[in-house]
């Protein structure tokens, strides 16, 4: 499945994930090794299952700086939220083409969290 970055552009020669997290993963065991992992993938079994968003934020807030990859079933409509939670690469699902994801970043799409402007950097996690 095509892999894209947070601009919706294709990634070629991507590294395979060092770790694949299921949505019920417990980060505690992973924390000591965060610095060693170049790519962590987080699985979305269904787009409605939002645990991956919390996993991503948790990893970023605990200092993970590598590539964070969304895999599984998610929607172009969630692209902005995935990016805001710290995902940097996206294994797009067969139902939705990379073009649909790129289109989701166009103007008048996905305004994003309303308080973001006031909280400013305090909300940035990536």
């Amino acid at each position: 499945m095509p892999l894209i970055d947070a601009k919706g552009e294709a990634i070629v020669d991507a590294a395979a994930p060092d770790e694949l997290l299921s949505p019920d993963a417990d980060l505690t065991a992973l924390l000591p090794r965060l610095g060693e992992l170049a790519v962590i993938a987080v699985e979305f079994p269904k787009f409605r299952d939002g645990r991956g968003f919390t996993l991503a934020r948790g990893l970023r807030q605990r200092g993970y700086q590598g590539d964070l990859r969304a895999v599984g079933h998610f929607l172009p409509d969630q692209f902005g939220a995935l990016i805001a939670c710290g995902f940097t690469s996206f294994d797009t699902p067969p139902e939705h083409s990379p073009a649909q994801f790129a289109a989701a970043l166009a103007k008048h799409r996905q305004p994003g969290q309303l308080l973001r402007r006031s909280l400013g950097r305090a909300l940035e996690t990536a």
Partner: protein, 664 residues
């Protein structure tokens, strides 16, 4: 021999349609083709491709009987789907509007309410809503083009407040913490008139619902509302919903802290929150800042009580895990005190634990209240505290600067009017006025003012419904008498929060003229009722006609009876808050018959309690008798000054059980 028809709802306008074989989908059940067991399977195969072709959703077979060549669905719900709401004979089901009319200018182009206590939008806020309306328009188009499946589209439309109900799409519009300007109410009236069939329904969560939307019109309706700074964002779906509060916020004499500022901050924080928009289940936050809890915070996912600490700073007592529905619980207190700067951080910690651990395998066990009980409150609190402690120190801190910036967007109302004694003099000669003032006004923090409640519960009417004309009349009265401001209460009434006492007689006369002067606030006819099976796809029984019959029966004695909250839900999801009614009624389906379980002793305030079922369910026709019997039992034994709930708390259920079940 059992007969079946095949039915579904049309994607474009949501109306119920009926499969007519080669003729395709018909708009009326009379045109449907009936199938026996043998033919049904092949017919379903024939009908189902419509789903793939994007015309009809939720295709299924329902049982019918045939009389005189006409087809009648067996289930009550399907009868109502086929015909229209039983309580609105003037509104038959089916196509009512082709959506092609040229519309007049929006009220917001010519109406302003500069003094109303709403949060003032700037271009950023307004652009946000316009973008959302456009985004939803694009999502509808993608659904119609097949880029989104129904399964994928559903959560997206829900997050914009769009449900598919029995007769059409329902659009739920948020009224943030129940505060509206007159201009906004006019804009709602405009949507009711031009995109709906002339009315709206105010809900227990301080929202308004329109019942007859065409999906294709929704983006336009949302764009119209955006021009008045209102929206349907997160009024449904598994996300953080509209934050609710006290309908007398900023006005009540017993208020410690005006909660609207914090409710607005929570609204902005929770709107499009990237992490918490696909939660295990919906999530409701309520906040109150008065001694008396008028926001039912103990039956919310998160309940906040704002108060002042020793230093006079605003701080928050935090509750979580309250809720009604299938498993009703009073909330657990997580923290006695959270500082303002930490409010969002603490809420983030709660939501993070819930998002990670809340059950996703069973919709009925997915709310935070279940997680807290399954984990035990102590363990849950510890996890929240650990998560809170692990947050980066600078993450999501609510600085004074942010709070002041949001606060500056609320106009500070002035209350210059003195009480010159006009009202006092007039009530001496006008008993109707005196009774309305006693029943429907609430003490205001400014001496010359009161808050006035406009009851949307006329005896025999539909609780919470208001026509476009009524909304416009109320908007005009708000402009004239209440700084252009209106509140929606969680008991489905409207409030003019700031009325000079001197103006009360004139306001009352205007309400009488408009038929809006029901003097029943808090009385037995001021019933909370969900839309029930007349509209709602989830309901198992009708709520509205039951409310109407109870009100008609008890109206003559309502003032004698005094304070008595009767709450009615048409299904276990408890939108009618039956668990917290002094008398609660839950409509259930028993072998095709609508029957009602009666609970007693519920309360939603600071003495929150879940009502207890008192005995076997009562058939629809017997409900007014049963309520009458409960009231008689109360009147027989009440002591001076005792409300129904006080008598129940003193004596328990025994005299009430006896009253209902001994007469059967």
């Amino acid at each position: 021999m059992a007969l079946h028809v095949i039915t579904g709802n049309r994607l474009a306008d949501g109306i119920s349609v009926w499969f007519a074989g080669e003729a395709g989908w018909a708009e009326h059940v009379d045109q449907a083709r009936a199938y026996d067991e043998v033919g049904l399977e092949a017919a379903l195969d024939q009908a189902k491709p419509a789903d793939a072709e994007l015309h009809v959703v939720d295709i299924r077979a329902v049982d019918v009987t045939q009389e005189d060549g006409k087809l009648f669905p067996v289930a009550h719900r399907e009868q109502i789907r086929a015909r229209g709401p039983s309580v609105r004979a003037d509104l038959p089901a089916g196509v009512w509007h082709d959506g092609a009319k040229a519309l007049p200018p929006l009220p917001s182009e010519s109406s302003t309410s500069p003094f109303a206590g709403i949060y003032r939008y700037d271009d950023y806020d307004r652009d946000f809503l316009r973008q959302r309306a456009k985004e939803f328009g694009a999502q509808v188009a993608r659904r119609q083009a097949g880029e989104l499946s129904e399964e994928e589209f559903k959560p997206l439309r829900l997050m914009n407040g769009v449900y598919l109900q029995l007769h059409a799409y329902m659009l739920r519009i948020a009224i943030p913490y129940g505060v509206l300007s007159a201009t906004q109410l006019r804009q709602l009236a405009y949507v009711a008139r031009h995109y709906d069939r002339g009315y709206g329904h105010f809900t227990t969560r301080q929202n308004i619902q329109f019942n007859w939307l065409r999906l294709e019109d929704v983006p336009d309706a949302l764009a119209a509302l955006a021009e008045a700074d209102i929206h349907g964002i997160q009024t449904s779906g598994n996300c953080i919903r509209n934050t609710t509060t006290d309908e007398f916020a900023g006005a009540a004499a017993d208020e410690i802290i005006d909660p609207r500022l914090y409710a607005e901050i929570i609204r902005q924080w929770s709107t499009d929150h990237p992490e918490f928009t696909y939660l295990p289940r919906k999530f409701k936050i309520a906040i109150v800042g008065a001694e008396h809890d008028r926001a039912a915070v103990r039956v919310h996912d998160i309940g906040l009580e704002a108060y002042k600490n020793d230093k006079g700073e605003p701080v928050f007592r935090v509750f979580a895990g309250g809720g009604l529905g299938r498993s009703p619980y009073v909330a657990v207190k997580l923290r006695e005190e959270v500082k303002l700067a930490e409010l969002l951080r603490y809420c983030e910690a709660i939501l993070r634990v819930y998002n990670a651990l809340g059950r996703r395998d069973n919709i009925y066990k997915a709310r935070i209240k279940i997680l807290i009980r399954e984990m035990k409150p102590e363990a849950f609190i510890k996890m929240v505290e650990d998560e809170y402690a692990a947050l980066p120190a600078d993450y999501c801190v609510l600085t004074d600067e942010i709070v002041q910036a949001v606060a500056a967007r609320f106009p500070a109302p002035e209350f210059p009017r003195q009480d010159t004694g006009i009202l006092k003099a007039e009530v001496l000669d006008d008993r109707a006025l005196a009774r309305w003032v006693k029943q429907n006004t609430h003490p205001h923090k400014a001496l010359g003012y009161v808050s006035a409640v406009i009851s949307l519960k006329p005896v025999g009417g539909i609780p919470g419904d208001a026509s476009a004309e009524e909304m416009e009349i109320i908007a005009d009265l708000a402009d004239k008498y209440s700084n252009g401001e209106i509140r929606v209460s969680h008991v489905q009434n409207l409030v003019l929060p700031h009325v000079a006492k001197d103006d009360v007689p004139a306001l009352f006369r205007a309400l009488v003229k408009a038929g809006l002067a029901s003097d029943n606030l808090g009385l037995v006819t001021d019933i909370i009722a969900c839309p029930g099976m007349d509209y709602c796809a989830l309901a198992t029984a009708r709520s509205i006609p039951v409310a109407q019959r109870i009100a008609e029966r008890l109206a003559p004695r309502q003032h004698e009876i005094g304070t008595l909250y009767v709450n009615i839900s048409g299904c276990i999801n408890a939108c009618g808050h039956h668990h917290v009614g002094h008398i609660g009624l839950l409509g259930v389906d028993k072998n095709g018959e609508e029957v009602y379980q009666i609970t007693l002793g519920g309360a939603a305030d600071e003495k929150a309690a879940i009502g207890k079922i008192i005995g076997p369910a009562v058939p629809t026709a017997k409900v007014p008798d049963a309520i009458d019997a409960l009231v008689n039992a109360y009147l027989n034994v009440r002591e001076t000054g005792e409300r129904f709930i006080d008598t129940y708390r003193r004596l328990g259920a025994a005299p009430f059980k006896e009253a209902i079940y001994a007469t059967h």
